[in-house]
Protein backbone atom coordinates (compact mmCIF):
# COMPACT_ATOMS: atom_id res chain seq x y z
CA UNK A 1 0.00 0.00 0.00
CA UNK A 2 1.44 3.34 -1.03
CA UNK A 3 1.80 6.12 1.53
CA UNK A 4 0.58 9.56 0.54
CA UNK A 5 2.74 12.60 -0.18
CA UNK A 6 2.13 14.22 3.21
CA UNK A 7 3.30 11.06 4.95
CA UNK A 8 6.34 10.60 2.75
CA UNK A 9 7.41 14.21 3.22
CA UNK A 10 7.34 14.00 6.98
CA UNK A 11 8.58 10.48 7.70
CA UNK A 12 12.14 11.29 8.60
CA UNK A 13 14.46 11.53 11.57
CA UNK A 14 13.85 14.10 14.26
CA UNK A 15 16.79 16.26 13.20
CA UNK A 16 15.15 16.78 9.82
CA UNK A 17 11.73 17.82 11.12
CA UNK A 18 10.44 14.37 12.01
CA UNK A 19 9.81 12.87 15.42
CA UNK A 20 10.75 9.92 17.54
CA UNK A 21 8.56 7.04 16.38
CA UNK A 22 7.58 3.90 18.25
CA UNK A 23 7.83 0.35 16.99
CA UNK A 24 5.63 -2.35 18.47
CA UNK A 25 6.41 -6.00 17.84
CA UNK A 26 5.06 -9.10 19.62
CA UNK A 27 6.26 -12.50 20.62
CA UNK A 28 4.46 -15.44 19.04
CA UNK A 29 2.50 -15.73 22.30
CA UNK A 30 1.31 -12.14 22.09
CA UNK A 31 3.62 -10.31 24.51
CA UNK A 32 4.07 -6.85 22.98
CA UNK A 33 7.27 -4.80 22.92
CA UNK A 34 7.09 -1.05 22.25
CA UNK A 35 10.25 1.00 21.79
CA UNK A 36 10.99 4.58 20.75
CA UNK A 37 13.23 4.94 17.70
CA UNK A 38 15.14 7.98 16.41
CA UNK A 39 16.72 6.58 13.23
CA UNK A 40 13.66 6.38 11.01
CA UNK A 41 12.73 7.04 7.40
CA UNK A 42 10.57 5.95 4.49
CA UNK A 43 12.09 3.63 1.87
CA UNK A 44 10.30 4.11 -1.42
CA UNK A 45 6.59 4.70 -0.91
CA UNK A 46 5.57 1.38 0.63
CA UNK A 47 8.20 0.66 3.28
CA UNK A 48 9.43 2.21 6.51
CA UNK A 49 12.93 1.66 7.84
CA UNK A 50 14.53 1.95 11.29
CA UNK A 51 18.19 1.41 12.18
CA UNK A 52 18.69 -1.85 14.03
CA UNK A 53 21.07 -0.88 16.78
CA UNK A 54 21.01 -4.22 18.57
CA UNK A 55 17.34 -4.11 19.45
CA UNK A 56 17.36 -7.36 21.40
CA UNK A 57 13.73 -8.15 22.04
CA UNK A 58 12.64 -6.71 18.70
CA UNK A 59 14.90 -9.18 16.92
CA UNK A 60 13.64 -12.14 18.93
CA UNK A 61 10.04 -11.12 18.29
CA UNK A 62 10.49 -10.55 14.57
CA UNK A 63 12.23 -13.90 14.21
CA UNK A 64 9.14 -15.67 15.53
CA UNK A 65 6.38 -13.23 14.53
CA UNK A 66 7.37 -10.97 11.60
CA UNK A 67 4.80 -8.26 12.03
CA UNK A 68 4.86 -4.77 13.50
CA UNK A 69 3.22 -1.38 14.05
CA UNK A 70 5.03 1.96 13.80
CA UNK A 71 3.28 4.87 15.51
CA UNK A 72 4.16 8.40 14.45
CA UNK A 73 3.08 11.06 16.91
CA UNK A 74 3.37 14.74 16.19
CA UNK A 75 0.03 16.24 17.24
CA UNK A 76 1.28 19.80 16.70
CA UNK A 77 1.68 19.01 13.01
CA UNK A 78 -1.40 16.83 12.79
CA UNK A 79 0.40 13.51 12.56
CA UNK A 80 -1.58 10.80 14.32
CA UNK A 81 -0.48 7.88 12.22
CA UNK A 82 0.04 4.17 12.81
CA UNK A 83 1.46 1.94 10.07
CA UNK A 84 1.08 -1.82 10.31
CA UNK A 85 2.39 -4.69 8.25
CA UNK A 86 4.99 -7.41 7.77
CA UNK A 87 8.29 -6.51 9.40
CA UNK A 88 11.77 -8.00 9.54
CA UNK A 89 15.37 -7.04 10.15
CA UNK A 90 17.38 -7.02 6.94
CA UNK A 91 20.81 -7.73 8.36
CA UNK A 92 24.23 -7.25 6.91
CA UNK A 93 25.12 -10.50 5.21
CA UNK A 94 21.67 -11.00 3.75
CA UNK A 95 21.54 -12.04 0.07
CA UNK A 96 21.32 -8.72 -1.69
CA UNK A 97 18.66 -10.07 -4.03
CA UNK A 98 16.44 -11.15 -1.16
CA UNK A 99 13.07 -9.51 -1.72
CA UNK A 100 11.03 -8.39 1.25
CA UNK A 101 7.60 -7.50 -0.10
CA UNK A 102 9.10 -5.45 -2.92
CA UNK A 103 12.18 -4.12 -1.13
CA UNK A 104 15.50 -5.63 -2.24
CA UNK A 105 17.81 -6.31 0.70
CA UNK A 106 20.84 -4.91 -1.13
CA UNK A 107 19.03 -1.67 -1.92
CA UNK A 108 17.85 -1.23 1.66
CA UNK A 109 21.31 -1.88 3.09
CA UNK A 110 23.07 0.38 0.62
CA UNK A 111 20.71 3.26 1.38
CA UNK A 112 20.21 2.83 5.14
CA UNK A 113 22.78 0.30 6.35
CA UNK A 114 25.18 2.99 7.57
CA UNK A 115 22.86 5.51 9.14
CA UNK A 116 25.56 7.29 11.12
CA UNK A 117 27.29 8.39 7.92
CA UNK A 118 24.15 9.24 5.99
CA UNK A 119 22.22 10.97 8.75
CA UNK A 120 24.37 11.49 11.86
CA UNK A 121 22.46 12.21 15.08
CA UNK A 122 23.95 15.67 15.38
CA UNK A 123 20.81 17.12 16.98
CA UNK A 124 20.89 14.56 19.78
CA UNK A 125 22.32 16.07 23.00
CA UNK A 126 25.52 14.45 24.26
CA UNK A 127 23.93 12.92 27.36
CA UNK A 128 21.53 10.80 25.32
CA UNK A 129 23.56 10.23 22.18
CA UNK A 130 24.66 6.60 21.79
CA UNK A 131 28.40 6.31 22.48
CA UNK A 132 28.76 4.72 19.06
CA UNK A 133 26.17 4.21 16.35
CA UNK A 134 26.69 0.50 15.73
CA UNK A 135 24.21 -0.88 13.26
CA UNK A 136 23.43 -4.55 12.73
CA UNK A 137 20.93 -4.06 9.95
CA UNK A 138 17.74 -2.27 8.99
CA UNK A 139 14.32 -2.96 10.51
CA UNK A 140 12.00 -2.86 7.52
CA UNK A 141 8.21 -2.68 7.63
CA UNK A 142 6.01 -3.09 4.58
CA UNK A 143 2.99 -0.83 5.00
CA UNK A 144 -0.12 -2.97 4.59
CA UNK A 145 -2.42 -0.52 6.32
CA UNK A 146 -2.44 2.78 8.16
CA UNK A 147 -4.82 3.86 10.89
CA UNK A 148 -5.23 6.96 13.01
CA UNK A 149 -4.35 6.90 16.70
CA UNK A 150 -6.04 10.29 17.22
CA UNK A 151 -7.94 9.75 20.46
CA UNK A 152 -11.44 10.53 19.19
CA UNK A 153 -11.13 8.41 16.03
CA UNK A 154 -8.57 5.81 17.15
CA UNK A 155 -8.47 2.92 14.69
CA UNK A 156 -9.99 4.78 11.75
CA UNK A 157 -8.33 3.69 8.52
CA UNK A 158 -6.08 6.22 6.77
CA UNK A 159 -4.93 3.99 3.91
Amino acid sequence: MKMNAEMLNSLRAIGQGGVVVHLTTCSSKGVPNTVGERFFSAFGDEHLVIADMFAQKTKVNLNENPFGVITVAHPVKGRYWAFRGPCMIIMWGEDENFDFHGAKAGDVLREWGDWASKDPPSEVPPDIRPPAVCQRGVITLKVDEAYSWKPDISGEKLL
Binding site: C26, N33, V35
Partner: protein
Amino acid sequence: MAILSPRMKGWLERFGCHIGTATKSGFPTTIVVEQAAVEGDSVVSFDLTDAQVNHIKDNMQENPYVALAPHAIASIRAAYQFKGAATLSGNTLKVDVKEIYCTKPGPEAALRLDTLPQEHVIKFEESRWRDVGPPK
Protein backbone atom coordinates in the same frame (compact mmCIF):
# COMPACT_ATOMS: atom_id res chain seq x y z
CA MET B 1 6.22 -5.89 41.74
CA ALA B 2 8.15 -3.29 39.80
CA ILE B 3 8.78 0.11 41.36
CA LEU B 4 8.62 3.19 39.15
CA SER B 5 11.26 5.82 39.87
CA PRO B 6 10.30 9.49 40.30
CA ARG B 7 11.81 10.23 36.87
CA MET B 8 9.71 7.48 35.25
CA LYS B 9 6.56 8.71 36.98
CA GLY B 10 7.23 12.25 35.80
CA TRP B 11 7.45 11.22 32.15
CA LEU B 12 4.40 8.97 32.31
CA GLU B 13 2.19 11.56 33.97
CA ARG B 14 3.32 14.50 31.84
CA PHE B 15 3.12 12.95 28.38
CA GLY B 16 1.41 9.57 28.54
CA CYS B 17 2.38 6.58 26.45
CA HIS B 18 2.29 4.57 23.30
CA ILE B 19 0.43 1.46 24.49
CA GLY B 20 1.26 -1.74 22.65
CA THR B 21 -1.41 -4.44 22.73
CA ALA B 22 -1.81 -7.69 20.81
CA THR B 23 -4.08 -10.60 20.14
CA LYS B 24 -3.12 -13.88 21.76
CA SER B 25 -1.51 -14.91 18.49
CA GLY B 26 0.59 -11.75 18.24
CA PHE B 27 -1.24 -9.35 15.95
CA PRO B 28 -0.31 -5.91 17.32
CA THR B 29 -2.36 -2.75 17.80
CA THR B 30 -0.88 0.39 19.33
CA ILE B 31 -2.78 3.37 20.67
CA VAL B 32 -1.39 6.62 22.05
CA VAL B 33 -2.72 8.20 25.22
CA GLU B 34 -1.30 11.61 25.99
CA GLN B 35 -1.70 11.68 29.75
CA ALA B 36 -1.54 9.19 32.58
CA ALA B 37 -1.75 9.00 36.35
CA VAL B 38 0.53 6.88 38.50
CA GLU B 39 -1.03 5.22 41.53
CA GLY B 40 1.37 4.04 44.20
CA ASP B 41 4.64 2.47 43.09
CA SER B 42 3.59 0.51 40.02
CA VAL B 43 0.10 1.17 38.65
CA VAL B 44 -0.36 3.46 35.65
CA SER B 45 -3.87 4.61 34.88
CA PHE B 46 -5.17 6.02 31.58
CA ASP B 47 -8.49 7.63 30.70
CA LEU B 48 -9.43 6.37 27.24
CA THR B 49 -11.90 7.79 24.75
CA ASP B 50 -14.75 5.59 23.53
CA ALA B 51 -12.88 5.12 20.24
CA GLN B 52 -9.75 3.96 22.04
CA VAL B 53 -11.76 1.51 24.14
CA ASN B 54 -13.37 0.06 21.02
CA HIS B 55 -9.99 -0.14 19.33
CA ILE B 56 -8.32 -2.33 21.97
CA LYS B 57 -11.12 -3.99 23.96
CA ASP B 58 -10.97 -7.29 22.04
CA ASN B 59 -7.22 -7.50 22.58
CA MET B 60 -7.66 -6.73 26.28
CA GLN B 61 -10.20 -9.51 26.65
CA GLU B 62 -8.03 -12.19 25.11
CA ASN B 63 -4.56 -10.92 26.07
CA PRO B 64 -4.32 -8.24 28.78
CA TYR B 65 -0.51 -8.00 28.84
CA VAL B 66 0.61 -4.65 27.38
CA ALA B 67 3.78 -2.64 26.75
CA LEU B 68 4.14 1.08 27.50
CA ALA B 69 6.69 3.49 26.04
CA PRO B 70 6.75 7.18 26.98
CA HIS B 71 5.15 9.49 24.42
CA ALA B 72 6.30 12.99 23.32
CA ILE B 73 8.60 14.47 20.74
CA ALA B 74 11.38 14.51 23.33
CA SER B 75 10.79 10.95 24.48
CA ILE B 76 14.20 9.83 23.30
CA ARG B 77 15.16 11.18 26.73
CA ALA B 78 12.80 8.72 28.36
CA ALA B 79 14.36 5.47 27.16
CA TYR B 80 12.10 3.20 29.16
CA GLN B 81 9.68 0.43 28.44
CA PHE B 82 7.15 -0.85 30.94
CA LYS B 83 5.24 -4.11 30.67
CA GLY B 84 2.41 -5.44 32.75
CA ALA B 85 -1.10 -6.75 33.09
CA ALA B 86 -3.85 -4.33 32.12
CA THR B 87 -7.43 -4.10 33.29
CA LEU B 88 -10.00 -2.25 31.23
CA SER B 89 -13.00 -1.06 33.23
CA GLY B 90 -15.30 1.34 31.44
CA ASN B 91 -13.00 3.96 29.95
CA THR B 92 -10.21 3.41 32.48
CA LEU B 93 -7.21 1.30 31.61
CA LYS B 94 -4.99 0.37 34.53
CA VAL B 95 -1.63 -1.28 34.02
CA ASP B 96 0.13 -3.01 36.89
CA VAL B 97 3.76 -2.71 35.80
CA LYS B 98 5.74 -5.95 36.24
CA GLU B 99 8.80 -5.31 34.06
CA ILE B 100 10.87 -2.19 33.37
CA TYR B 101 13.55 -2.01 30.67
CA CYS B 102 16.06 0.56 29.48
CA THR B 103 15.66 1.10 25.74
CA LYS B 104 18.65 3.36 25.12
CA PRO B 105 20.12 2.19 21.80
CA GLY B 106 23.34 0.22 21.95
CA PRO B 107 24.80 -1.91 24.71
CA GLU B 108 22.20 -0.94 27.32
CA ALA B 109 19.21 -1.79 25.12
CA ALA B 110 16.89 -4.20 26.96
CA LEU B 111 18.72 -3.81 30.26
CA ARG B 112 16.21 -4.81 32.90
CA LEU B 113 15.74 -2.17 35.58
CA ASP B 114 12.99 -3.56 37.81
CA THR B 115 15.29 -6.28 39.11
CA LEU B 116 17.75 -3.69 40.45
CA PRO B 117 17.43 -2.12 43.90
CA GLN B 118 15.68 1.24 43.66
CA GLU B 119 18.80 3.14 44.75
CA HIS B 120 20.71 1.55 41.87
CA VAL B 121 18.01 2.61 39.42
CA ILE B 122 18.22 6.20 40.69
CA LYS B 123 22.02 6.16 40.31
CA PHE B 124 21.67 4.67 36.84
CA GLU B 125 19.32 7.46 35.81
CA GLU B 126 21.49 10.18 37.32
CA SER B 127 24.53 8.86 35.50
CA ARG B 128 22.76 8.64 32.11
CA TRP B 129 20.59 11.75 31.90
CA ARG B 130 21.21 15.31 33.01
CA ASP B 131 17.52 16.02 33.54
CA VAL B 132 15.51 14.53 36.39
CA GLY B 133 12.19 14.58 34.58
CA PRO B 134 10.29 15.62 31.48
CA PRO B 135 10.44 19.10 29.96
CA LYS B 136 7.89 21.56 31.42
